[in-house]
Subunit: 323 residues, 2 copies
C-alpha cells in the first residue's frame, strides 16, 4: 500500500473533539485549548524489546502502546484528547497487520473520544511505534509527584502484578480459563482515567502511574516530595490466583511487575472517605497501602513493612524479604 | 549510562518559554497556551532509511530531524515552542554520540528559544529518532494548503535542490570549498520561521514546506485547493553551481529533491510587494515562480511551463522534459 493510501485509510472520518481545528491532511494539526492546561507525553514501543510477534498480536501492540501514554495523562490528573502516531514498519508486515495495529489504538481511543490527528509512517527493519498523546487538565490542577506530605494515606488502584503474570502465562503458553484474566490485563490494560477525573475535587494529591512497578513509583514520589513512603506489604492488593499459582515470583511481580497502569498516590487522611466514594462511583478498586512520614531517616525513599520489620524498598523491588 | 543519568544529562537547567509549567521530570509535561492555537507535528527519522553513519554525524542527525519538524510548524504559519524526543539507540552507540544527537537538536532549539519537555529513550537494533514539536499560531490564523485562489502568485523561498546535491556530494566524498555550501544546506537546513512570522499581516496565503520536492508540494496545494498550479521552470530558483557541476541531475534535484525545507505558497497579486518586503526584512530570498489558475482542465494538479510548452508535473517531479 502506498503511504498516501494508507494515511487515507486511517484518517478519521470526523473529529470528536471540538478542540481539533485541523486534523490529518496538512503539514501539522491545529488545536485550540484556551481554557485548560495541556498535558503532553510521548512513548515508544519497539519490537523484541517491549513486545514480540509471539506474545502480542498487532491489535494488542496498538492497544497497549496507546494505553501506556493514556496512563501518563491519568497520572497527571487529566484526560486524553488527541494523539499522533509515528510507526516504523518492516516490509514483511502486511497492510492488514498494519491496519490491525491502528484498530487496536482506535478501540481504546474511541472509549475516550480521542482523535488521531497526525504522525507518519516510515519503513525500517523492526516495528517501532511512537505515540504522542495530548491531554487536558483544569488550569493549575495537574497532579505531580512532589506533593506528598506527612500523614498522607498512600493508595493504589486495582491489583498489582497482573500484567507481569499475564506475560509469564503467554510466554509459557498457558491459556486455561483462569489465565485469560491475566492475559487480558497484559494485552488490554485500562488506564484509570475516569477515576482520576472523578477525584478532581480533592485539593492535594501526589500521583504516579504504575508503569515500572510500585517499588519504582513509590520511590519516585518519595524522592520528588522528599518524604518517606511506608508501604505495608500485607495491604498491597493482588489477585488470589497470583499467590496460588506462582508463589515463587509473587514478590517480584507485585513489587516490580510493570505495565499494570494502575495509579499510586497520596492524599490527606481527611480526604480518604471522599476518595473511596469516587472509586465506588467509577467502579475502581482502591486500597490504602501505607502512609507518608517526614523523618530524616526515611525521607526520599520507599520502605516496606513485612512481618513486623521495616526494610528499605529498592526501586527495582529488591527487598531482602525473608520468606 | 543509566537511563536516569542520561535523562538528567539532557534535562534543561531552565525553561525559556513561560508556557512550560512542568517540563521533564514527572509523568508528562504541562503547558499553558490560552491565547493561541496549537500546532502539533511528529516525524521519525530512521538509520539507513533517512540517514546513515557515513554521511551524517550524530550532531547533524539531531539537527536535521528537529529542523524537519520545525519546518512543518513554519508551513502552518506558526512558531515552534517546545518538543519531545523519543530515541531508540543500539548498544553500540556511545553515550557521547547520543549526547551529540541531543546537542544537534539543542543548537537549533536554542535559535528558536524552544524547550525540550519530554520523551523517552529505549534500546533497539537501529537508531531511530521520533520528534514531536508543538508550536503556536494566532487563533484562527494557521496557513493551510487549501486556500489558493485564481490569479494568486506562487512563491518559493531560497534555492531548491541544494540539500539533494549536498547529499550527492557527501555520498561521493567531494568536499572542496564549493561543496561545503551544499553539504551545510543538507546537514543544517534552516526552516523559514522568521520570514513566515514576519508575513503574518497577509490575510490569505496557501502554504506548504518543501520537504519532498517542489513537484510534490505544488501538487498538494493544487489538490487541496482544487486549483491549477502553473510553475515556470525558468523562474525556479537554484544555485549556479548546481547547473554547472551536475547538469544531468539538475531537473531531478530541483523538482523532486527533498529536505530543502523551503516554503512554497500562494498569495493574491496585491500582496506580492508586501511579501517581498517581509522577505527583505528577514533576509529571505523570495521568488515568484508562477500563478494559480481556476480551470477544469488544470485544477487539482501542478503544471510546468518549459521551453514554451505546458506539461503536467507529476508528484514525483517526472515531467517528460525534452533536453
Amino acid at each position: 500500500m502506498e503511504e498516501f493510501d494508507f494515511i487515507q485509510s486511517i484518517k478519521p472520518k470526523y473529529y470528536r473533539q471540538s478542540s481539533v481545528i485541523k486534523g490529518i491532511g496538512d503539514d501539522a494539526a491545529i488545536l485550540r485549548h484556551t481554557n485548560n492546561d495541556i498535558i503532553m507525553t510521548m512513548d515508544t514501543m519497539v519490537e523484541n524489546i517491549h513486545f514480540n510477534e509471539m506474545t502480542t498480536a498487532p491489535f494488542h501492540i496498538g492497544y497497549r502502546a496507546l494505553a501506556a501514554n493514556i496512563s501518563d495523562i491519568a497520572a497527571m490528573g487529566g484526560k486524553p484528547v488527541s494523539y499522533l502516531v509515528s510507526i516504523t514498519v518492516p516490509d514483511r508486515w502486511s497492510a492488514e497487520e498494519l491496519q490491525e495495529i491502528y484498530q487496536g489504538m482506535t478501540a481504546l481511543a474511541n472509549a475516550y473520544h480521542m482523535d488521531l490527528i497526525g504522525g507518519d509512517t516510515v519503513s525500517g527493519e523492526h516495528l517501532s511505534l511512537s505515540i504522542t498523546v495530548l491531554g487536558t487538565v483544569n488550569n493549575g490542577k495537574a497532579r505531580y509527584r512532589n506533593t506528598a506530605r506527612e500523614h498522607d494515606i498512600i493508595f493504589v488502584t486495582g491489583t498489582l502484578g497482573d500484567s507481569a503474570y499475564g506475560l509469564h502465562l503467554l510466554l509459557n503458553e498457558q491459556d486455561d480459563a483462569a489465565s485469560q484474566y491475566f492475559i487480558h490485563r497484559h494485552q488490554m490494560p485500562s488506564p484509570r482515567v475516569s477515576f482520576i477525573n472523578q477525584a478532581r475535587p480533592i485539593e492535594r494529591m501526589a500521583l504516579n502511574d504504575v508503569s515500572d512497578g510500585i517499588a519504582n513509583e513509590a520511590n519516585e514520589i518519595a524522592a520528588a516530595s522528599d518524604k518517606g513512603m511506608l508501604l505495608d506489604f500485607d495491604r498491597i492488593p493482588y489477585h488470589d490466583l497470583l499467590a496460588k499459582n506462582s508463589p515463587d515470583n509473587l514478590y517480584q511481580w507485585i513489587l516490580s511487575g510493570g505495565e499494570d497502569f494502575e495509579l499510586i498516590g497520596t492524599v490527606p487522611p481527611e480526604d480518604w472517605d471522599r476518595l473511596m466514594e469516587y472509586a465506588k462511583l467509577t467502579d475502581t478498586k482502591l486500597t490504602s497501602i501505607g502512609k507518608v512520614v517526614d523523618n530524616e531517616k526515611f525521607n526520599g525513599k520507599a520502605w516496606l513493612r513485612y512481618q513486623g520489620q521495616l526494610k528499605i524498598l529498592d526501586k527495582s523491588g529488591y527487598t531482602h524479604l525473608k520468606r
